[in-house]
Assembly symmetry: C2
Amino acid sequence: MSQPGAKPKSAITPTRAEDYPEWYLQVIRAAELAENSPVRGCMVIKPWGYALWENIQRDLDALFKETGHVNAYFPLFIPVSYIRKEAAHVDGFAKECAVVTHSRLEAGPDGKLVPGGELEEPLIVRPTSETIIGETYAKWVQSYRDLPILINQWANVVRWEMRTRLFLRTAEFLWQEGHTVHATEAEAVEETHRMLEVYADFAENYMAMPVIKGRKTEGERFPGAVDTLCIESMMQDRKALQAGTSHHLGQNFAKSCNIQFQDALGVQQFAHTTSWGVSTRLIGGMIMTHSDDDGFVAPPRLAPQHVVICPIYKDEVGKADILAYCQSLQKELSAQRFHDRKVVVTVDNRDIRGGDKAWGWIKKGVPLRVEVGPRDFAAGSVFVARRDTGEKAGVPRVEFVATLVQRLQAIQDNLLARAKAHRAANTRVIDTWDELKAYFTAKNPERPEVHGGFALCHWNGSKEVERRLKEELKVTIRCIPLDAKDEPGKCVVTSEPSPRRVVMAKAY
Amino acid sequence: MSQPGAKPKSAITPTRAEDYPEWYLQVIRAAELAENSPVRGCMVIKPWGYALWENIQRDLDALFKETGHVNAYFPLFIPVSYIRKEAAHVDGFAKECAVVTHSRLEAGPDGKLVPGGELEEPLIVRPTSETIIGETYAKWVQSYRDLPILINQWANVVRWEMRTRLFLRTAEFLWQEGHTVHATEAEAVEETHRMLEVYADFAENYMAMPVIKGRKTEGERFPGAVDTLCIESMMQDRKALQAGTSHHLGQNFAKSCNIQFQDALGVQQFAHTTSWGVSTRLIGGMIMTHSDDDGFVAPPRLAPQHVVICPIYKDEVGKADILAYCQSLQKELSAQRFHDRKVVVTVDNRDIRGGDKAWGWIKKGVPLRVEVGPRDFAAGSVFVARRDTGEKAGVPRVEFVATLVQRLQAIQDNLLARAKAHRAANTRVIDTWDELKAYFTAKNPERPEVHGGFALCHWNGSKEVERRLKEELKVTIRCIPLDAKDEPGKCVVTSEPSPRRVVMAKAY
């Protein structure tokens, strides 16, 4: 039986406790999820990481379609004249964007290739598409009968970030951006909330990543939005990750792009628009929520592969029998479905050391690892290792086949429960500045690398307090939870009145 | 019964006979497939057109995976230094590409936004990704054990085309590009052929678009390839459309990108690579192969929607009954599968004129249109119109439900047969220059707008003949068919010896 031999301290070096940011990068490396590309700030999403994105896309896309949306595709380039129309928007995105100025390369004086064919008007590579899509919608919308428009786009976008980090912040990333147009404010607000619910459902029930649904403060809103809703999740280092946003854009973009319609009474009106998006950042969130010191842990609903079967034989004599046993097992398992997706099972028959093989799959986060050796073959059993808990046990083959779906669901449930417990353990109601300061600056003796978490505090609603939190504690107001109950209190910084608590945290 | 009333000459103006290029654009417009965007050369793919692309993606992706490929994602940008490494490649793509030179916009002297933050090295927006992917592969490949690499990417690419045409030639388009690395030339050649077969299978059996599998002449090869295989299809105006290409790149890119591996004997070797791609151009091919003077005709396997049910009632009394009848019919039809895809059925209950409604769906190309009026309701029947042939007939409801899949398959088969017959009728064996010239220049009295077709001719293998064909007849050698039988003959231009016939045609 080639169980992983003497267990090293951990398969990933450093561990979370030793150096969380570096651990994150090493998990990505060990699982072959992505790597930095030679192009500054852009990543290569490797097949195992891209398979996660394909699964995210497929499931989210189904949820979008269930809520009445269709997909379309709009241009990669935005004329500078469009982007500048919405003042807040241009402020938000002009500072870091890729600008296309030429339409060819030509031989320069020294034979080097240099840009040629200068464009009359520079184009920027879309950092987000409100403006280019808005200009198009303005042509499509004439009458209230043309509304609502409920369109989503799967696309790449570029923001020239200076400090990049695989999946969390890259110059180019993949995302979806929904852009909808409505006749009334009420409908637009309803849409904004509907899509936030879709994101929350997806985060919790597919990614096993619990989230707080909330509203951003004015200072943290999307540039050009009237209201930004978000889902915020806690990573294992207790920092917050904004995992998705849904914006009520009011009539701001309708006015800058001139999206007008004639209502049922014949009156010309500006429309109300929304936009909402999630990106490959979700993969970063998934990694930081579930992975451990042995590598990535994939939630079964999104795992590229659910089960790997490793045949173990000592000689050629047993080989044929054991391989046949593994292949028929693969067939029985693959015939099953887990949440409307075919269970993906491979047999790893590579000729490498059993320990290396096992650790390889552990680091890749496959939910269930099955080993079949001569004794299992003789007994009609399988040896099953569960990735999330590390539990290992011999199980009659028939029983394993019959309980596969339950086992996968148990892992999915455990990951969510574990993440919820982690968040609960690291969320504190705090009422004084001293305590808040200690919470975010004092070292935690048990895990010196981390401190703080989510602080539920009163806030006077001012930008000045937000500025002070940021400067003195590197903390931001992540959101005003949508389900926050009315609870009059005093601002944790100024002691001024506050109607309810908000979530404060350090964030990615 | 709101059948389309007195049939106008055609739903699309102009007809194919009147002005084929303009007919093509009007079909796209009427079916709401795409439109030109405000950004020069870029198109907006509208929901109905994008649904076609989604179906193409899903089915092709499954075929790629069945042949052992996985997906990944590489950067949008390519440093100029990379693209120039392969000499033929840079010649092919440098002349029309989007060049990013700056990383932000800043306020200029007159307050206008101008490019700022000039990059040290300009980047081009990928026109194709051999170079950037090759540079990455060079790091991944060390040993023969790392081979083969079988990766595909779904992406957008940009080529700064001057004359654009929706779907057929746009500055930005969507495509897939496979990039594989192999230890031996034989394996790379095998891969090139394997993927050509996948494309041919897809074109014929999914798109119902017959293709000729062939090899490009040296002059028509992909820049940097050793061999380019292609599938060529005939459009209704008898012009050829190159619908997909599969390139054997030999060791050209392996050398320029330095993809080396140690073989089993410990010897360092350059790898052999391939690339292959199809794009949103396929949608243009589908439109031009099947559509008629009444609009788009979607092949059922890729149709965004298979059936539309239009309830027809005169008063509120019958309305509820007829609607319920339609909805239960929708349910029965939607429960079925056509080629592993759920049958998509909608009930169109919009309050618009019946004739407008029917013509709307005809122009959108939905394979089966069902109308249910009071008499159908009373008789337990449906009135079914078939898009490809225009046939209309009352059918017992039970029978329609039971024969749905056969009906869709009959349409699929008919479209392919029709396209094959069209190609056969417009393919000619030609042995003299006079006949060739007449074929491609003489007007066809029956359809004055078109002439020519596919000419099967002998060719001496020279570029000079290709040049003359292009200059004098605007004709190119589309391909040397892979199944061309050895048939010694004389070049149609020079009378020099030729080993087999090639396909000559005007082309998109």
